[in-house]
């Protein structure tokens, strides 16, 4: 390895680690579950109330479940089912993303809109 290899690898690692710490640090307690399709809000719900919602656009669907203060997708018809594998989210700033369906489910907190502003 040459000197510049170390500079490159070292700086990339440092930037990534700081970035991850900032992302984790900006997570707060969340209250609202927001569903967006193609960057448009189509549904919001309270994290504290158990509910179910079928996110449907054309033939695409993702079934959103809110239970015991956690949100997750238990069923979908996308390729790979990555959104189902993403599991449960409960902290403000966390999200579940379904790329084939352009769906994002995010936990937001009503109080700190500034954090929300940064992440959008």
């Amino acid at each position: 390895m040459k000197k510049w290899d170390y500079v490159l690898i070292g700086s990339l690692t440092l930037i990534s680690v700081i970035w991850i710490i900032i992302i984790l640090g900006s997570q707060s307690s969340g209250e609202k579950v927001v569903v967006k399709v193609n960057d448009k809000v189509i549904y919001t719900a309270l994290l504290s109330e158990d509910s179910e919602y079928l996110i449907k656009t054309g033939n695409d669907y993702n079934n959103l479940v809110i239970k015991d203060g956690e949100a997750y997708i238990d069923d979908a018809n996308c390729k790979g089912l990555d959104c189902v594998r993403m599991g449960h989210i409960s902290n403000g700033g966390e999200s579940i993303i379904c790329i084939p369906h352009s769906v994002i489910v995010t936990i937001e907190s009503d109080k700190d809109n500034n954090i929300d502003f940064v992440s959008e």
Binding site: I9, L12, R85, S119
Partner: protein, 168 residues
């Protein structure tokens, strides 16, 4: 000349197999379309043995074959973006002589992953995907290190089988 064609065909084939294996093994990171880019080991070796034109050519052949096999236009977009950005970063580093094959392949792998996240953001309009970038940069560093070390081991072996004569 014939020998070179045969070697390039072999490289493209191996790169395709690597991509195929990747496509059927899901990553723990739930970002569809994003792959580790292990095929880059063949591209890096080709860059060091034959040159940039040949490396770009076998990568393009790999992507075309992959798209035909999987019939997925999105995978074409992701792979193409990854290949272009990765080579755009690797080539100047390779030319500069300030970096070893390890630094070059790390830059390639990180560029590959970054390009794929940016493509996913453009396709879906989900800006929040950027949050995955630091994780993908770290996974790119690890993939790049592994690829660079493999390349470092394989290159002298290729020279042993008289690649200089193969080149002409």
């Amino acid at each position: 000349m014939y020998k070179k064609t045969a070697f390039l065909g072999l490289f493209a084939c191996l790169a395709l197999i690597f991509s195929y294996v990747e496509a059927i093994v899901p990553l723990p990171i739930p970002v569809p379309g994003v792959k580790l880019g292990l095929a880059n080991v063949l591209i890096v070796i080709c860059l060091y043995t034959y040159g940039v034109k040949e490396a770009v050519a076998i990568n393009f052949v790999r992507i075309i074959l992959l798209t035909v096999l999987f019939a997925n236009p999105y995978s074409f977009l992701y792979s193409l973006a990854g290949a272009v950005i990765s080579m755009a970063l690797m080539y100047p580093l390779y030319k500069s002589k300030g970096f070893s094959i390890i630094g070059v392949s790390v830059a390639g792998a990180v560029g590959h992953n970054t390009a794929q996240i940016l493509t996913a953001m453009a396709v879906t309009g989900i800006v929040k995907l950027i949050d995955y970038l630091p994780v993908l940069i770290i996974s790119g560093i690890i993939t790049g290190l592994i690829i660079g070390i493999i390349g470092k081991i394989i290159l002298p072996q290729l020279k042993k089988i008289d690649l200089e004569r193969v080149k002409s």
